[in-house]
């Protein structure tokens, strides 16, 4: 047993988190910042934060993740990090020449109380921000919320620093992308294209974190929302936020700042969430839904119907982020699977409420969010009564092997497989991909563990 110390006996933990289903704010800010074209994320704190975030993102994407750090020393921690940040801005623009530096704070700079507005003003005063270049920033204290919060804060900063309302509204819908894979964003843009909807997506990590190998390292790959597009979001007719936890704040600010009305829907994972997204986009972009999309939907339904017997009633344990877990559980239910154990380290009521609604017909369900809603607890539940499938990030592989349970990797980080940034999990096509992955995991397990006389040519 790899996790040999995990027993079914739960205790009433008050302080210790074990095997978290979350990480800290700054990495979310760093990831989101990569979705702006020409942007270099900057971690205002000690070197370790930046190194850890870059490493974690790199392991997941198997792509270069460029970011700089204020390299705090003990002195900066005592006297404040202003000098470090100003020098960093100077160095970065001189050496790496981004269009934007997107700085975020850390628990260190937050604890010592660095005032980002003031420091960035000073940088401007000191003349280290070249003409036409931008330094944006957001506060991402690691001890508040999680990586999801950091992502939301960064995306909100995009709006704060760039979105601008001119007198003329354009028939464009903003798509505010929650935390998903580049392939997911690409797929959502593809669907919007098929609908002939005019949209601006932000952030947009496609063509950034799934870049071709062409013999050069592009510090600023060709993807990412451009500054003009980001500015123009203020003139859009409507915003659709994809994922409440990650995009609602940005949508609200855009409404307050530029009077762009909005609707927040789930990340379009699975049949119904995609239905809602397409319906919303169709309505607000004022375009009909073409047959090509209806056909993709029909192919998803066909796939589920064809393989329904393999899905039905299977008990699933999941961990990850609320914006992913909510539509994902809904999707599993629509396939007649039974999500029974769900944890997310990210706190917040909407998760609990949505889960209660989606899983109302599964009386044995256990779900939990926030502090100590961790993978150790979920594993304890599994020890109490097993499941047929695990869905979550790579950390689940230890449970999968110990419990001999099929495992579909989804979420962040995935450090032991590749391809998750190629094949989308959003939209009808993505839902089909997901259903295929689930089916393969279940059937591979069946083929591996069944008695020889039960080994089958057709399944």
């Amino acid at each position: 047993m790899l996790l040999r110390h995990t027993t079914p006996k739960e205790i009433d933990r008050q302080a210790l988190t074990i095997n978290p289903a979350k990480t800290c704010q700054p990495i979310g800010a760093m990831y989101a910042a990569l979705g702006l074209h020409g942007c270099l994320p900057h971690s205002h704190g000690s070197q370790g934060c930046c190194s850890y975030h870059r490493s974690a993102l790199t392991r997941h994407f198997k792509e270069p993740v460029m970011a700089a750090t204020s390299s705090f020393s003990e002195g900066s921690s005592v006297f404040g990090g202003s000098a470090n940040l100003v020098q960093a801005i100077d160095t970065i623009f001189t050496v790496y020449n981004p269009d934007i530096i997107a700085a975020h704070t850390t628990c260190l700079s937050e604890t010592i109380g660095d005032d980002m507005t003031q420091i960035v003003s000073k940088a401007h005063e000191d003349g280290v921000v070249p003409e036409g270049k931008h330094v944006i920033y957001c506060n991402t204290p690691s001890y508040v919320g999680t990586h999801v919060t950091g992502y939301a804060n960064q995306v909100t900063a995009f709006v704060k620093f760039f979105s601008k309302a001119t007198p003329k509204k354009r028939n464009v819908v903003n798509l505010v992308a929650g935390w998903m894979e580049p392939a997911d964003m690409r797929e959502i843009k593809r669907m919007a294209n098929v609908l002939e909807a005019r949209t601006i997506m932000f952030p947009d990590m496609s063509d950034v974190l799934d870049a071709p190998l062409d013999g050069k390292h592009h510090m600023y790959p060709k993807g990412g929302t451009t500054i003009p597009d980001m500015v123009a979001t203020g003139d859009s007719k409507f915003s659709i936020g994809l994922g409440k936890y990650t995009t609602e704040d940005a949508c609200i600010l855009l409404d307050n700042k530029c009077k762009v009305k909005f609707e927040v829907v789930d990340i379009p994972i699975g049949l119904k969430a995609t239905d809602r997204f397409i319906t919303s986009l169709s309505r607000h972009a004022n375009v009909p839904v073409p047959d090509a999309i209806t056909d993709e939907r029909g192919r998803l339904i066909d796939f589920i119907a064809d393989n329904h017997g393999h899905f039905y009633g299977k008990r699933v344990a999941l961990w990850g982020d609320p914006d992913t877990l909510i539509p994902l559980c809904e999707f599993l239910v629509s396939m007649d699977m039974r999500p029974v154990y769900i944890v997310t380290g990210t706190p917040g009521k909407p998760f609990d409420e949505r889960m209660a609604a989606i899983l109302k017909d599964i009386p044995e369900v256990k779900f939990m969010s926030g502090e100590r809603a961790d993978m150790f607890r979920m594993h304890q539940w599994i020890k109490q009564e097993g499941v047929d499938l695990l869905i979550g990030n790579t950390y689940g592989k230890y449970i999968a092997r110990d419990e001999n349970t099929p495992f579909v990797r989804l979420g962040f980080p995935i450090a032991d497989r590749a391809g998750h940034n190629f094949n989308p999990k959003t939209g009808y096509v993505g839902a089909t991909n997901l259903a295929i992955d689930i089916l393969n995991a279940l059937l591979d397990h069946r083929d591996r563990t069944c008695a020889e006389e039960k080994f089958e040519f057709q399944l």
Binding site: A15, C24, Y52, R59, G75, T91, H217
Partner: protein
Amino acid sequence: MGDKKKVDLTTFKDAVLDKYPKKVGKKRAKAIINNDPDNMPVIQANIRTIPGIITQRGCTYAGCKGVVLGPTRDIVNITHGPIGCGFYSWLTRRNQTKTESDQDANFIPYCFSTDMQDSNIVFGGEEKLKQAIREARELFNPKAIAIFSTCPVGLIGDDVHRVARQMKEEFNNEVNIFGFSCEGYRGVSQSAGHHIANNQLYKNLIGNDDNVTPKSKFRVNLLGEYNIGGDAFEIERIFEKCGVELVSTFSGNSTVSSFEQAHTADLTLVMCHRSINYVAEMLETSFGIPWFKVSFIGAQASAKAMRKVAAYFNDPELTERIEKVIAEELKIVEAARQVALPKTNGKTAMLFVGGSRAHHYQDLFEELGVTTLSAGYEFGHRDDYEGRRVIPTIQIDADSRNIEEITVTKDEARFKERMTPDVLKKMEDALGKDEVEYNDYNGLMAQIGKGALVIDDLSHYEMEKLIELYHPDIFCAGIKEKYAVQKMGIPLKQLHNYDSGGPYAGFQGAMNFYNDIAMMVSTSIFKEIKAPWEREEVVEASYVY
């Protein structure tokens, strides 16, 4: 093959420094050296990284919790802080471990954190830490619990050492509990974390258990080996085969008990000088255990390391056995080397990683006929470059001064003089004076060729320039560099974690490395980067019009 590239590296410094802001350039100039082993230059090392420069470096916490304590399996390592630090150091270093039975403790797959929230920052986190320790004990019942401080801990004044003492008391000393002041902002890199870790190992574990039943007459400690990819397993195999007892490894595949008995060994071998030389010195000062720098990276280096052991113990039977093992192993290794050589010979490499690996791996590359054009450490000190002889001349700056130094004295009851002049003399007779390196380490610059570029704390910009100007056949660094380098069509071997390969230590490891490097330098896909329609010489297809 075999057409060794002639590369002129002298222009690099000028080419690269221009780009920096003036003050930055001036600083970096001191860290970029054209090597001359005969007239060894001074390199700037172990100083602050310039903000904004995109460094390879991490933090003190990473060096302490991640590197040194990470590989221990039976200590519950609790990160006191917000969730991130514990999360990022959870299973990310490929520290393998193998317990003797399924029942033995192994906490490596677990991440423990106090998961500090804003209220803990405002009102202090000591109570939460205490409760976390109670819960850890109830759930895991470990022999030892370690507490690691993250950035805010020091700032808000949580005293992890006091908490450790109090909780130890609460548990009637049934659990060994100790803390580390390894906040991320201390020092200038992971290096500070190693030092902090070493001190606490010494204070809280080493020497705790005298009750030892020796399994062999020849008892050694191995320091600075972290069992990445199973390196320690291979070294254990070699020691076992030679009949030498490995009392402790710091800290690959280690246990609390092995640390506690380290002081009973008769010899200390140091692999990663940078991360652990403090412990080696303390063991000698307190207990009289001499130490030698060795390396098990490379077949010849491994042979040399074992011969050092033989020479030290000076036992004919042992020497014979070790020579037999070396002969046996080298025979197989040589066969593997000959398979790889046609693919690797004449190639060039660059190594930028860690505090010792950028040096050690030059041996392996030499065995493959690969020239190291340029190398440097991520968190080395001047002595790692220039040799320990420069230690007295190293200026202690403010960043280093903040790292705890502990004073170690002779343990009168347990000290035993081992390195008598006689022993040393015999060793020098057996190995040649230069090879003994007793209490010494000659550093990277003594080995890397004349004219090679030695660069400390390489920046991303410098890395791209190095590749652009000299296009090595293989680049060695870490995960953060890997994919940027490979986008340029150059394979990158991670020397922190070996990608997913290894072991590379010892004899088996050498063969693995030969295979893997032969594989990487012959990767076909890099030849396909340009699409046919992007190439000048598109071959006309023949078709029937």
